[in-house]
């Protein structure tokens, strides 16, 4: 999946837009979405879906699958928000908050009205904010995020760590997949016990191979005159688009006004 997202980003139709524009667009929507009313949040999520699926041409199916992710987190937290428990003797005290209740011996179990409100708020907010993050994830290649961070004077140690992680996480994944495939071809995952043993082997082998790679890469860095900092140069190829900029700004303005009116009342 990670690899797939990475490939999608590099082929998305909004790739040519300057990454600063896309990042600030998402940041503005993120702030608006955090503080606003549910219907504005809904509008933001819908609008971003248009950007991601309509403009950037990310397949709708993949985007829908990605959106299921926050939904599943939400679902796991719903029982905690919704269910209320109190002693049967004190059930009248919580009466105004009860949607539906049942007595189980000395305990009174009920669905909370307030909890339901909270759950729906959390749902709207989670959906909006993850949409903003997905917009960044799906339209701005990681490399370009790093460049913007560099421009923003983010500490170089952090940017380099991120860059190296991005570079090597694929190598790690590849090594792990190779190991698992090799084990599978020799029946390493047939039964539960064998499977556990094989997994243990993968983990220990990964450590060994990672250390070996580390040694080789530090030689590689030395041979390329590593100075303690990973400085690189890149050409600028981005073209701002009048059409997209206008839509983004006009939309953000409308949403901000809507939020403002809501808070004024």
């Amino acid at each position: 999946m990670h690899h797939q997202i990475d490939s999608l980003v590099y082929t998305n139709r909004l790739r040519h837009l300057p990454p600063e524009h896309k990042l600030s667009f998402a940041a503005v929507l993120f702030i608006l979405g955090y503080g606003s009313v549910p219907w504005v949040q809904g509008a933001i999520a819908l609008w971003l879906a248009v950007w991601i699926v309509g403009y950037a041409k990310i397949p709708a199916k993949i985007y829908a699958r990605l959106l299921l992710l926050p939904l599943s987190f939400w679902l796991t937290s719903v029982p905690a928000l919704l269910l209320g428990v109190t002693a049967t003797s004190r059930w009248s005290a919580v009466q105004p908050d009860v949607m539906q209740g049942v007595v189980v011996g000395p305990v009174y179990l009920y669905l909370s009205v307030q909890g339901w409100q909270q759950a729906s708020e959390v749902f709207a907010r989670a959906l909006t904010l993850t949409s903003c993050l997905y917009f960044i994830l799906l339209t701005v290649p990681f490399v370009e995020i790093l460049r913007v961070l560099r421009q923003l004077r983010c500490p170089s140690l952090m940017v380099e760590l991120l860059a190296l992680m991005y570079r090597f996480i694929f190598m790690l994944a590849e090594t792990a997949t190779d190991l698992v495939t090799a084990q599978r071809s020799r029946g390493g995952y047939l039964t539960w016990r064998v499977r556990l043993r094989s997994l243990g082997l993968v983990v220990s082998q990964l450590v060994v191979r990672t250390l070996d790679s580390y040694r080789q890469i530090s030689l590689g860095l030395q041979s390329r005159n590593f100075t303690g900092e990973l400085q690189v140069w890149h050409a600028r190829r981005h073209k701002p688009s009048w059409r997209y900029s206008t839509e983004a700004m006009a939309g953000c303005l409308l949403l901000a006004i809507a939020t403002g009116i809501y808070y004024a009342n």
């Binding site: 990475d6 490939s7 590099y10 290649p141 990681f142 490399v143 790093l146 860059a163 190296l164 991005y166 570079r167 694929f170 190598m171 790679s213 080789q216 890469i217 030689l219 590689g220 860095l221 030395q222 041979s223 390329r224 005159n225 590593f226 100075t227 990973l230 400085q231 690189v232 140069w233 890149h234 050409a235 190829r237």
Partner: protein, 273 residues
């Protein structure tokens, strides 16, 4: 004389036997040098010593007549003039996109941005990487990674190019492209040393040959002469390039070998055959 080894011995930490033993060697300038030998005979160690990555236990290395003192400054100059291409490109590519990776060595030299831009652009063109310039390294195939690794080194315009098993991950078509690229590098005046056990490749490419066995150079000389020493190559466990074997058979049957040899060299450097 770009680089010279004087009775160099190197043992890896915790290893029982030295990987390179009392090795003396001069790399003739401007030549296409091939370094052959069986796996584990010390070829890669020799290349790493030549790039100043390992420090010999005994013996000395000379770069352009001066002994290498392993100070930070002298290593920096050495690595600027000696380019090493590793066998596994993964160990060499550190930046996130092709263009950034090529610029990395130039940025380390502290060159002005306009010159970096200029040289990166030219290298991208030279190595047919223009379309891949903005592609992340992890999206490349192994052959493409190899090409980027060579471009990384060549952008620094080294005087001596060292390559460790350059044909290891290449298919026949990529090998032929590599052959032509090496030819251009040679014509531009760069001395090249290739360590490999791909005898067929080295037979078609090298004009100077060094044979290594158990950490020492055991044979050295012009490639044509060395490939005539059939018996010695066989006892070293190397055997002969397919072409030499064939030529010998033909010669035994009275057909001129020189003519066929030139045909074989030509074949390796052209795209279709």
């Amino acid at each position: 004389m770009p680089i010279e080894f004087d009775r160099v011995t190197y043992t890896y930490p915790c290893a029982k036997k030295p990987a390179v033993q009392e090795l003396s060697l001069r790399i003739p300038p401007g030549r296409r040098c091939g370094l052959i030998g069986r796996n584990g005979c010390g070829k890669s160690t020799l290349l790493r010593l030549a790039d100043g990555l390992f420090r010999p236990d005994r013996g000395k290395l000379y770069w352009q007549g001066k002994p290498l003192d392993y100070s930070r400054k002298s290593l920096r100059t050495l690595r600027q003039q000696v380019g090493l291409v590793f066998q596994d490109p993964e160990h060499q590519l550190v930046a996130t996109t092709v263009e950034e990776d090529i610029s990395y060595g130039l940025c380390n030299l502290g060159l002005p941005e306009s010159e970096i831009a200029d040289r990166v652009q030219r290298t991208l063109e030279d190595f047919d990487l223009l379309e891949l310039a903005n592609t992340p390294i992890n999206h490349l195939s192994l052959g493409q990674k190899k090409r980027v690794a060579i471009a990384d080194v060549m952008v620094l315009q080294p005087q001596l190019l060292l390559m460790d098993e350059p044909t290891a991950y290449l298919d026949p078509a990529q090998t032929r492209t590599l052959f032509r690229r090496l030819e251009r590098i040679h014509v531009a005046g760069t001395t090249t040393l290739i360590a490999t056990h791909d005898l067929d490749f080295i037979y078609a490419w090298a004009d100077w040959l060094m044979v290594m066995d158990c950490g020492r150079i055991v044979l050295e000389g012009p490639a044509e002469d060395l490939f005539d020493r059939h018996q010695e190559l066989r006892t070293l466990g190397l055997g002969l390039p397919l072409a030499v074997d064939l030529l010998t058979m033909l010669e035994d049957n009275g057909i001129s070998a020189d003519k066929i040899r030139s045909q074989i060299v030509k074949r390796s450097s052209c795209e279709e055959y």
